[in-house]
């Protein structure tokens, strides 16, 4: 490789910083950027903001209500096939059983191209952020990065206790050893590149349903 050696690359930086100026402390007053705090009704804030960006929020009282909601959404989407990755998510077995009994084809999450073929992807999340309507989805292990991306519709299951108030809380929860891939999903895939006109579903899902389990 024609790469420059790290030593010569760094010598330019060290030279440039010969006069560093007054030392600037690393600030720790991150809280001034906080928008939502824990005293607010996080489910309400999250659900409202999910709707504001064009995703759909559904509040379900308990897991069985959530399963019913998921199955109802799959039917409304007229989905004939689904991908449900083999990862920790609420009521996974019940959802799979429900899909089977309704004749929805379950594509094997072990098949790399399954997400390109499925009509809907159903996943859990690691964490959700009320402020930005974000859902953190991690890669690694049997998680499928594309199950929430290559599908035309994504159904995400969020437990109420997974919702943190602010993006700052998400940042603070990050460990020094993060997974190989984490994505914050905060809306459906969209573009406004042609004359600023909003078009959903440019590469990824055009429809995102968020089922919140209380």
């Amino acid at each position: 490789m024609p790469s420059e050696s790290q030593t010569s690359f760094f010598s330019r930086i060290t030279d440039a910083l010969a006069e560093r100026g007054e030392p600037v402390e690393l600030p720790d007053d991150l809280e001034i950027a906080r928008v939502i705090d824990a005293t607010e009704d996080l489910v309400e804030v999250f659900a409202t903001r999910v709707e504001q960006v064009g995703m759909h929020a559904h509040r379900a009282a308990g897991e069985s209500a959530a399963v019913a909601k998921v199955l109802e959404l799959v039917e409304a989407l007229a989905a004939r096939s689904a991908i449900v990755p083999d990862e920790p998510m609420p009521a996974r077995d019940a959802i799979i059983a429900g899909l089977r009994s309704r004749g929805v084809g379950l594509l094997s999450p072990d098949e790399p191209d399954a997400a390109f073929e499925a009509d809907v992807g159903i996943t859990g999340v690691r964490m959700a952020v009320a402020e930005t309507a974000s859902m953190s989805v991690v890669g690694g292990g049997k998680h499928r990065r594309l199950a929430s991306l290559a599908v035309p519709a994504h159904v995400a299951l969020v437990r109420a206790d997974q919702i943190v108030p602010d993006l700052i809380d998400w940042g603070r929860a990050a460990t020094a050893d993060p997974p190989a891939n984490e994505v914050l999903i905060s809306a459906m895939s969209k573009t406004a590149d042609i004359e600023g006109i909003l078009v959903p579903g440019v590469h990824g899902p055009g429809t995102v349903h968020v089922v919140i389990i209380e």
Binding site: A16, R20, L26, F116, E131, T132, G139, G171, L184, E195
Partner: protein, 480 residues
């Protein structure tokens, strides 16, 4: 297909004049830039302390830049700990060679690329194509520009200059679909092509919005999701980043995510934020097997050393472009630089050479709208003033200009010369004046009178003051 912006003039003033008198450009840019500027103004007050938050973002970057050697070393070590490869490139040529060789060594067929301004800066696509490699832009705007053979005119919305009818004609010609100017239909047509490309690609190329020193994480944001595809599907992933992109820890990233999305498009956060830490781990189903980070200098260490260090805080949100009355009038192409607008007028000459972009620091009325808009509070107006002075010092301004200012300085620093000059000026201005106005001045003065008249010089104040004193004295005598 004809170029949509008929800007061919060699020098900035002529390009700007041509663009400013092209009503179509003025209308397109004014609408799109003003629209995004309005969205930013609506979004920022969602933060309880918008100004403090922007200053916080500036301080974190100041600290990081001041200790860039330490943080960059930490970042590189962490990327390697996770099994990634780190390459250092002094300039664009070196970075292009590194990426070309990575692609060739892996026999990469199709390369899918996410939007990256630094790749535009070093003309990466050109280098890859010259080496016979097949690289495809996957951001919708960049994809359209690649098909059309055009350059971006905005750092966030690259095809801000292109009307939908032109996209329709382009797709009809290049993709063989029936003509339509419906953005939804056009987007669907592009989706079909790009989706198959994501599936088939061997290699992905991404930029970096932020790079986290403590964890070796690269953060990219896209609304479309193409960045996720590029970083998840192909077996090989290359991230090209400017060396100034670092932040110390993951907990600092939210501050910038909040500001970036609000400043760029008025969103609370971009649709997708990907955090990529090395290649896929043992036992992972998905992700690249091989991960390379190419860290680019290309003039940045030079900026780090001098009085323009603050410009390296830039997070490329485009807010200063949208706020700038000059950019709104002339659009991005008139700057003829990778980075247009106020930030571009600072970093284009600094990254490249003052001689190449000697005109750009003057492409500014010093109104201060860019400073008011900047989420990391870069004092662009002051930097532009200092750059103008550098341009003069280095002799990049015209001789007549430099002599003129020398004469001005001389006249202004001597009472006698000032009075002589003013007397001569008044006398000169009276020639050919009508009703106290001149319609035409010679030489540089003609730039003024091309658009408006100029009043003849009145008697100077010191003269009038002296006359007034005399008059008062006379009156005083009379009263006594």
């Amino acid at each position: 297909m004809s170029h949509p912006l008929p800007i061919v003039a060699e020098d900035f003033k002529h390009r700007a004049a041509a663009a400013a008198t092209n009503l179509r450009i003025a209308e397109i840019f004014d609408r799109s830039a003003r629209g995004k500027d309005d969205l930013r103004r609506l979004a920022m007050p969602e933060l309880p302390h918008p100004l403090d938050t922007r200053e916080l973002a500036a301080r974190i970057k100041n600290h990081t830049l001041q200790n860039l050697d330490r943080y960059l070393d930490q970042f590189a070590s962490r990327v390697r700990d996770h099994g990634g490869h780190v390459h250092f490139a002094a300039d664009g040529t070196q970075a292009n060679q590194i990426i070309t060789e990575i692609a060739q060594a892996a026999s990469a067929g199709l390369i899918v690329k996410s939007k990256s301004m630094v790749s535009e800066e070093i003309e990466l696509n050109h280098a890859l194509q010259a080496a016979g490699l097949n690289v495809l832009e996957t951001d919708l705007g960049e994809y359209i520009l690649q098909l059309a053979g055009e350059k971006p005119s905005h750092i966030v919305t690259p095809m801000a200059h292109k009307p939908k009818e032109e996209v329709g004609q382009l797709f009809a010609a290049k993709l063989g679909i029936p003509y339509t100017d419906d953005p939804t239909a056009l987007t669907k047509a592009a989706r079909k092509v790009l989706r198959e490309s994501f599936r088939a690609a061997d290699m992905g190329i991404i930029g970096a919005n932020f790079a986290v020193a403590e964890t070796g994480t690269v953060v990219i944001v896209t609304n479309e999701g193409n960045g996720r595809f590029c970083s998840s599907r192909p077996r090989l992933l290359v991230c090209l980043m400017g060396m100034e992109k670092l932040v110390p820890q993951l907990k600092h990233v939210p501050i910038y995510l909040k500001l970036l999305a609000k400043s760029a498009t008025g969103q609370r956060i971009t649709c997708y934020t990907s955090m990529i830490t090395g290649p896929k781990r043992a036992g992972d189903f998905d992700g690249p097997e091989e991960f390379h980070v190419v860290i680019l200098d290309n003039g940045r260490s030079h900026v780090l050393a001098g009085e323009y260090r603050d410009a390296l805080r830039c997070i490329r949100c485009g807010a200063c472009l949208n706020a700038c009355p000059i950019y709104r009038k002339i659009g991005g192409h008139a700057y003829d630089a990778t980075y247009p607008g106020p930030i571009g007028s600072v970093i284009s000459p600094l990254f490249t050479s003052l001689a190449t972009y000697a005109d750009l620091p003057s492409a500014c009325s010093l109104c201060g709208a860019c400073l008011e808009a900047c989420p990391v509070r870069i004092d662009l107006p002051t930097q532009l003033i200092h750059l103008r002075s550098d341009v003069n010092k280095d002799g990049h301004s015209p001789l007549s200009w430099r002599l003129g200012f020398k004469g001005w300085k001389l006249g202004m620093s001597s009472g006698l010369l000032y009075r002589l000059g003013a007397t001569f000026g008044r006398w000169f201005m009276k020639i050919g004046a009508r009703d106290g106005w001149k319609h035409k001045l010679p030489a540089t003065g003609g730039i003024w009178t091309r658009y408006r008249d100029v009043p003849v010089m009145p008697k100077p104040f010191h003269k009038r003051w002296a006359d007034l004193q005399k008059e008062l004295d006379e009156e005083g005598k009379d009263e006594r």
